[in-house]
């Protein structure tokens, strides 16, 4: 790592902060045009029988009658100071609500990612080494996974494994077995995306000359797969994983509902139906933070995995120029692809 690193890191960090702040503002703006807020909607529950006067008083108490931009500036000010505010719904600190929900969602998302990776690699491996027919069939699996609504998978898994086979109980959705099945439901669509990238990568790598050359050198398909193709085709997976973090969070909304888990997804669900702005803002900001962080990690990881890519130095500069009189054919690839 050279002297460019701190500059680079600072720049990336700055970008990340801007993205997170903008995400916070965006949520605020989007939700501010909402009809009503949690407070008035509970107050207006006909069973409560409040008068307009009483409701008005409460609205004033919470400052919900002030101009939107004033509320925004205040919220932003608090956010910058690390204060996420108080939930309009439950009157609990937003940080507590989100903090309490986080571990469960984290466990779910991490297991889902694990499940997705295992599944994706298994499917991708199968498409390359199985006999043609079976491989062909396996190839349509990702598309199928991507076409089934998330909640249908969840409902099916729950029905079969929780209710028919009693492998886990909805009462204790955070138990490992229950988490596993929720992770399967959440991970299946994600695995499809990873598998597609992996298969495309493998097809591409299998089609690369070096694979053919290695094959012509006498390597078997399985050895070729593991020794040569897995790593280069798995590289884009790093990027995809970073991108699917958001997917996992979004999908958790549905999966948690289906499996009766309490996590970020269900917090969002409640916050949306009760229009609990501070909570929603916090979750969106959190999602943005996670997304930005994971992508940053992926960016930093990439050069370590792929010797061809270097973040800080221009390509190949780290190595002394090739010795000898043979000039580097600059436009190899262009020429090669001409015909």
């Amino acid at each position: 790592m050279n002297s460019a690193y701190p500059v680079f890191a600072a720049k990336r960090l700055g970008q990340a902060v801007v993205v997170v702040l903008l995400a916070y503002v965006l949520t605020f703006v989007v939700i501010s045009v909402l009809p009503g807020d949690p407070l008035t909607s509970t107050l207006r529950n006909p069973e409560n029988g409040f008068t307009e006067d009483q409701i008005q008083k409460m609205v004033e108490f919470y400052g919900l009658d002030r101009p939107v931009w004033v509320q925004l500036v205040e919220a932003l000010g608090r956010f910058v100071r690390g204060d996420l505010g108080i939930s309009l719904r439950s009157s609990q600190p937003v940080a507590t609500i989100v903090g309490d929900a986080l571990p469960s969602t984290f466990a779910l998302a991490a297991s889902a990612l694990g499940v997705a990776l295992v599944l994706a690699f298994a499917v991708a491996y199968g498409t390359q080494v199985l006999p043609r027919r079976a491989a062909q069939l396996l190839r349509s699996v990702p598309a199928l996974f991507l076409s089934v609504p998330n909640f249908v998978i969840g409902l099916l898994l729950l029905n079969v494994f929780a209710f028919q086979l009693s492998l886990f109980s909805v009462i204790d959705p955070d138990a490992p077995v229950a988490t596993f099945f929720a992770a399967v439901a959440l991970g299946i669509p994600v695995s499809a995306q990873i598998a597609q990238v992996l298969i495309t990568g493998l097809d591409h790598e299998f089609g690369e000359d070096y694979a053919v050359v290695a094959y012509a050198r006498g390597l078997g398909r399985a050895r070729l797969f593991f020794a040569h193709l897995l790593k280069p085709s798995a590289l884009p997976v790093v990027t995809i994983i970073a991108l699917t973090v958001g997917e996992l969070l979004g999908g958790a909304l549905i999966t948690e509902t289906v499996f009766g888990r309490t996590g970020i997804g269900s917090v969002v669900q409640t916050a949306v139906t009760t229009q609990d702005l501070p909570v929603l803002q916090a979750v969106v900001a959190l999602a943005a933070v996670v997304f930005v962080a994971v992508n940053l990690i992926a960016d930093l990881l990439y050069p370590l995995l792929d010797p061809r890519v270097s973040l800080f130095a221009p390509r190949r500069a780290a190595v002394p120029a090739p010795a000898g009189d043979e000039a580097r054919p600059e436009k190899l690839s262009e020429k090669a692809s001409v015909r």
Binding site: E47, Q54, K57, S90
Partner: protein
């Protein structure tokens, strides 16, 4: 009636111990007692961890609980409550007159400087309460308030430790800080996830009316949020839970077939039906309103949407209410009569089967009430039935928040679908007109002198009989004027439970009470 289908309770003696898991579709929003105790969701939990001053059963009968007895003056403006001795909150604070006064004030006024609202249905005529001695409280009202004592048994009127009440709103919303005097206490909770209750061993001040006043038999009671109804059903079937809450009525049969027991308690209150706003065309015409009443086939709704536990409405007040009388003949299903009424009113049926008058279509929008799971289905059926009559009907479903914002009784909504409990029939006075910030259900304001008169007679009544008579007259008038279109007796809370769970009772607002429940071994 706390209707329970299938499996009658066995006569075996209750057994101690056992853990019950109760799956509920939502744990609502806030846990601040004043904000959540009347909720259909949290109300269930509050019922277990708190006591009330009086007990109101599903027939509206009021009996002693924390208040051993009470007196009132003749014009019902002053009441004296005599409290039970030796009752304590779980934090050790005695439940004495001071605590009762603190609670009464809280219900009536809330705590505006903390952002805590009063309890909406608490009589607005409340002036003050005074602790005469440790066991006696007097309460005074600005006008006769016959409904005061029953209101004490309302699900909003829960007795909370003064220490809890003294907390900020934020701290009140944290159940860890909560202390009540009920048969259960809070063991643990997770926001939006579950609340675990455990029994209070020294409890022995339950309502006599339930036959068992001592500590609960059950060890723990877990309320677990499971939003998906199919998941709740699955969990019950797989014996992962003992009680589930709110399922579609049509799903009940498959569960009772497997031996599960359905609890379909009816609350005290208004029946499920439409409050008609006469300001909204075309309902200014009484004939159109009556056509509407006769145009709805309640039996088809019962057959399609509901199962055995449901009954047709007999008026606009649930039949469990002591003052209720049968008025079903005023709005019997009679499509021919409806058609004739519409013809008379000048609404002519066109070639497409839709009626028009002066080029205006006979159109109406129904807003499904999000507080009733079956509402959308009912509205769909009603729209078909009215469609046959020549109405052009649109059904609109909103979520709770949007519904609260856009659909307001008496204001802009032609037909407001009522799902409303009350514990004292005096409540009706407040809904008829806009006097005293009344709810003005029918959009009449104070233009209808008959209605004004009935309202005043109910509000000012000082004895139950006069009031009951006024209520009967009111029902006759409202129904004959077509101001309310009753549909069914409402069962807003549906419980399906394991056959092993015995001794469950349902109070006047249809909330299940587990103080006397036990699990068969």
């Amino acid at each position: 009636a706390g209707t329970t289908t299938a499996a009658a309770p066995t006569s075996a003696a209750p057994t101690e111990g056992g853990d019950v898991v109760f799956l509920i579709n939502s744990l609502g929003t806030s846990w601040v007692p004043n904000e959540s105790s009347i909720s259909s969701y949290q109300g269930n939990i509050w019922g277990q961890v708190t006591d009330k001053l009086v007990y109101v059963d599903d027939k509206g009968a009021v009996s002693p609980w924390i208040a051993e007895s009470w007196d009132q003056n003749t014009d019902a403006t002053e009441f004296t409550l005599h409290l039970k001795d030796g009752v304590t909150f779980s934090d050790g604070t005695p439940l004495d007159a001071a605590a009762v006064v603190a609670n009464l004030d809280y219900w009536a006024f809330g705590s505006p400087d903390k952002g805590i609202a009063p309890i909406g249905l608490f009589p607005k005529t409340y002036q003050k309460a005074t602790a005469v001695d440790a066991k006696t409280v007097t309460v005074t009202f600005s006008a006769s308030t016959l409904g005061f004592i029953p209101t004490l048994g309302y699900h909003g009127s829960i007795l909370v430790s003064p220490k809890t009440l003294a907390l900020s709103k934020q701290d009140q919303g944290n159940l860890d800080n909560f202390s009540g005097s009920g048969p259960f206490t809070i063991k643990s909770w997770a926001d939006g996830d579950d609340v675990v209750l455990e029994k209070r061993a020294d409890y022995n001040w339950g309502p006599e009316a339930l036959g068992h006043t001592g500590p609960a038999y059950l060890d723990t009671l877990t309320y677990k949020q499971v939003a998906e109804s199919s998941t709740r059903i699955g969990a019950l079937s797989a014996n992962q839970a003992q009680v589930i809450y709110n399922v579609q009525p049509s799903e009940i049969a498959s569960l009772t077939d497997k031996g599960f027991v359905a609890g379909l308690p009816r609350y005290l209150g208004f029946t499920n039906g439409y409050a008609v706003n006469v300001q909204a065309a075309p309902f200014g015409d009484v004939k159109v309103r009556q056509a509407l009443q006769h145009g709805i086939d309640r039996q088809q709704i019962l057959d399609t949407v509901y199962t055995d536990g449901w009954e047709a409405a007999t008026g606009f007040i649930q039949s469990g209410v002591p003052e209720a009388t049968d008025h079903s003949s005023d709005f019997a299903y009679d499509p021919k009569a409806s058609a004739a009424l519409l013809d008379e009113a000048g609404w002519v049926k066109g070639a497409d089967g839709k009626r028009t008058k002066d080029g205006q279509p006979l159109a109406v929008t129904l807003y499904a009430n999000p507080y009733l799971a079956t509402s959308a289905s009912i509205d769909e059926l009603v729209s078909q039935q009215l469609g046959d009559l020549g109405f052009a009907v649109t059904v609109q479903t909103y979520d709770v928040a949007t519904f609260g914002e856009k659909v307001k009784v008496g204001a802009n909504t032609p037909l407001y679908e009522v799902t409303r409990s009350f514990i004292d029939v005096g409540t009706v006075a407040g809904i008829l007109t806009d006097a005293n910030k009344g709810e003005n259900w029918f959009g009449l304001g104070q233009t209808d002198t008959t209605l004004n008169d009935l309202r005043d007679r109910i509000a000012r009544a000082t004895d139950k009989d006069t009031r009951a008579k006024a209520v009967d007259e009111l029902q006759t008038y409202v129904l004959q004027q077509g101001l309310f279109v009753p549909i069914t007796q409402i069962v807003q809370r549906i419980y399906v439970q394991s056959p092993k769970l015995q001794g469950v009772t349902y109070n006047g607002v249809a909330i299940a009470d587990y103080a006397t429940a036990w699990l068969q071994k």
